[in-house]
């Protein structure tokens, strides 16, 4: 795999800085002044707690202070050349994350903390927790656990979390996160993960996949962080984002098949920090628009779904379309088998990958409609318990995935 290119200026600055214990990088365009102020506050508040450690902060376009300011400042800043324009939102985020990890590797850092560009996680408590998990608890990778919110991050709850857990055997709540921390040993491998060659998968960074496949003995941990990232959803179309994220995960699945086929069940990952209070439940949400999208999809996309899904799944979907809105409920096993079948179709190129990922959207909205109805009367905590049950159903369905993956032509339930 080709290594990420670091500019000459960054290399020179890295040589000037020497080594660092902890590199804290912002993965995305950010106001330099805001970043500097917040980073200085982190250093000041961490103070004696982590005084033995040398922190280096970096963000795209960061410039180290010169002259007296540099000598008087306790803040060490390394420049980070922004990566080449990567197109869509998540692809750009992953490109910045890789750049930060590459810089951490060049500085021989013991830990690298990657944070979102809204600076919500650039907080002394969060930094302290992540450093504790990596350096004191010897975790190779630490992922965040954001405050429970039953109507947020639904793509993660419905697809990414259960699928990643089922495949790689690690119970990570947010496998694709804006913020995470990695040990020095993992930085290089994470920075060198390859982009998918075609436009249907994007080039997202999946830290849990890399840790599970390349460093299976290295522990993965999680920390509770009281951070809410406000993703600017204006201009982002659901089917495009779903296609990009799911496509990338299917791409990783195809290339790591030799690893996940050997894994059975899942291991709990240690969690540190105090769980924040869940989001207050507002008014119940109307699931009818999502249900209408699902019904429209089932009426018009039957010819496409027939190429991907086996007959009994199609029969189940037809049964769902005949339910009243009050009765509508998509079983967990059905949704899991649908995602597995789409992953298999992605690998076999049954139809164009762009079309395949587009045809997943109405089915996903059907699941969302079912989920929204089911958790409308539950608290955020109870909804999390429901999602745990949901993820276990995916694990129980793994034998189906294995059989279909190994014998796609012969096995037809």
């Amino acid at each position: 795999m080709a290594g990420l290119e670091i500019t000459e200026e960054t290399k020179q600055q890295a040589e000037r800085i020497g080594t660092a214990d902890v590199v804290v990088g912002i993965a995305g365009a950010v106001s330099g002044e805001d970043a500097r102020v917040r980073a200085a506050r982190v250093i000041e508040e961490l103070g004696s707690g982590l005084s033995g450690l040398r922190f280096v902060f970096t963000w795209p376009g960061a410039a180290p202070e010169a002259g007296d300011a540099a000598e008087n400042s306790s803040l060490t800043v390394a420049p980070l050349a922004p990566p080449a324009p990567a197109g869509e939102f998540w692809t750009a985020v992953s490109a910045h994350q890789r750049a930060v990890l590459a810089l951490a590797e060049s500085l021989n850092a013991r830990a690298c903390i990657v944070l979102g560009s809204d600076l919500a996680a650039l907080d002394p408590h969060v930094i302290q927790l992540l450093v504790y998990a990596i350096l004191d608890r010897q975790c190779g990778l630490v992922m965040p656990v954001y405050p429970a919110a039953k109507y947020e991050g639904l793509i993660n709850s419905g697809i990414l979390c259960p699928l990643s857990r089922t495949l790689y055997g690690r119970r990570v709540r947010y496998p694709l996160a804006f913020d995470f921390a990695a040990s020095g040993a993992l930085c290089g491998s994470l920075a060198r993960t390859m982009a998918a060659p075609d436009n249907s998968g994007g080039s997202l960074l999946w830290p849990v996949t890399v840790a599970a496949t390349q460093f299976p003995q290295v522990p993965v941990g999680q920390v509770h962080v009281e951070v809410r990232h406000e993703v600017a959803t204006g201009g982002l179309e659901l089917s495009a984002v779903l296609g990009q994220i799911a496509g990338s995960l299917f791409y990783e699945m195809e290339h790591c098949a030799a690893h996940w086929q050997r894994i059975r069940g899942s291991q709990a990952t240690p969690i540190w920090g105090n769980a924040a209070d869940g989001q207050q439940d507002g008014q119940p949400i109307d699931a009818q628009p999502m249900l209408d999208s699902f019904l429209l999809g089932s009426k018009n996309l039957d010819e496409v779904w027939r190429l991907v899904l086996p007959p009994n799944t199609l029969l189940e979907l037809r049964r769902l379309t005949r339910m009243t809105p009050e009765q509508f409920r998509m079983p967990d096993e059905l949704w899991a088998s649908i995602v597995f079948d789409f992953a298999l179709a992605y690998r076999l190129r049954t139809i164009s990958r762009v079309h395949l990922l587009g045809a997943l959207t109405p089915l996903y909205l059907g699941w969302v409609a079912s989920y929204v109805r089911e958790v409308s009367t539950l608290s955020s905590g109870a909804a999390e318990q429901r999602l745990e049950q949901f993820s276990r159903a995916w694990e129980d369905k793994k034998p189906y995935l294995l059989q279909r993956w190994r014998w796609p032509d012969r096995f037809n339930p």
Partner: protein, 234 residues
């Protein structure tokens, strides 16, 4: 008189039998040449497929340009190339067979005509194939995008796009084959122009009232405060 009738019938039958006897070697030569090329083509296509599989051609192609995989996802690139090799030999077999047929009959009119027309047929076949693939791909794209945009008429739109591309392809193929001449061009022009004109009238005249009602509603509607999204997918 009957003897004369009998004699002329016998002489015509004799000429027919002679002609058939003259043609038979040519027909036999055609069949042998065609079958030979069919066999060679089949063996070579197997060999090509084996070589391409051995050099992992499909994997290399999937890492590079994905256009073939996207447009014809069920046929791997190596399978497509093997099929192209096979059908090239089949076409060559037909041409050589026709030449062998004419060598047996000492007439070269047909082969001259066929050899001149074969490039047009090949071009038309390629156009037809490309048009069908394009029609299928574009219509499916329109269908899926329309459904994701919650358009109730997504299927109708998709069918309309597919038929427009197929009609255009058909006209191009007939024009390339030089069949129908000006009738095809005129017919296509009338059909396509008629469709576009009908759509313009339908949209322009039919929606005139709708547009004015819509504008009136917009002007009369009170200012709405946008509600924050309650569901976040990402």
């Amino acid at each position: 008189m009957w003897q004369q009738v009998e004699q002329s019938l016998q002489s015509s039958m004799g000429r027919v039998m002679n002609r058939m006897a003259t043609l038979l070697p040519g027909v036999l030569a055609f069949v042998v040449a065609f079958l030979l090329f069919l066999l060679v083509g089949w063996l070579l296509s197997l060999l090509v497929k084996w070589i391409l599989t051995a050099v992992k051609f499909d994997e290399r192609m999937s890492r590079g340009a994905s256009a073939i995989a996207e447009w014809s996802p069920r046929s791997t690139p190596s399978l497509l190339i093997a099929r192209i090799v096979f059908w090239c030999f089949v076409i060559a077999g037909v041409v050589v067979g026709v030449s062998a047929f004419e060598a047996g009959t000492s007439e070269h009119i047909i082969s001259g005509w066929i050899l001149g027309y074969v490039p047009r047929v090949i071009g038309a076949a390629i156009l037809l194939l490309a048009g069908n693939v394009l029609a299928r791909f574009v219509s499916r794209s329109v269908l899926i995008t329309g459904v994701n945009l919650n358009l109730s008429y997504a299927r109708l739109l998709s069918m309309g796009v597919r038929w427009m591309i197929l009609v255009l392809t058909g006209a191009m193929v007939l024009d390339h084959l030089a069949l129908g001449g000006a009738i095809v061009e005129l017919g296509f022009g009338i059909l396509f122009g008629g469709i576009v004109f009908a759509l313009s009238l339908a949209v322009g005249l039919g929606s005139r009232d709708l547009v004015s009602r819509s504008l009136e509603r917009e002007a009369a509607r009170p200012v709405e405060i946008p509600q924050p999204e309650k569901i976040h997918h990402f």
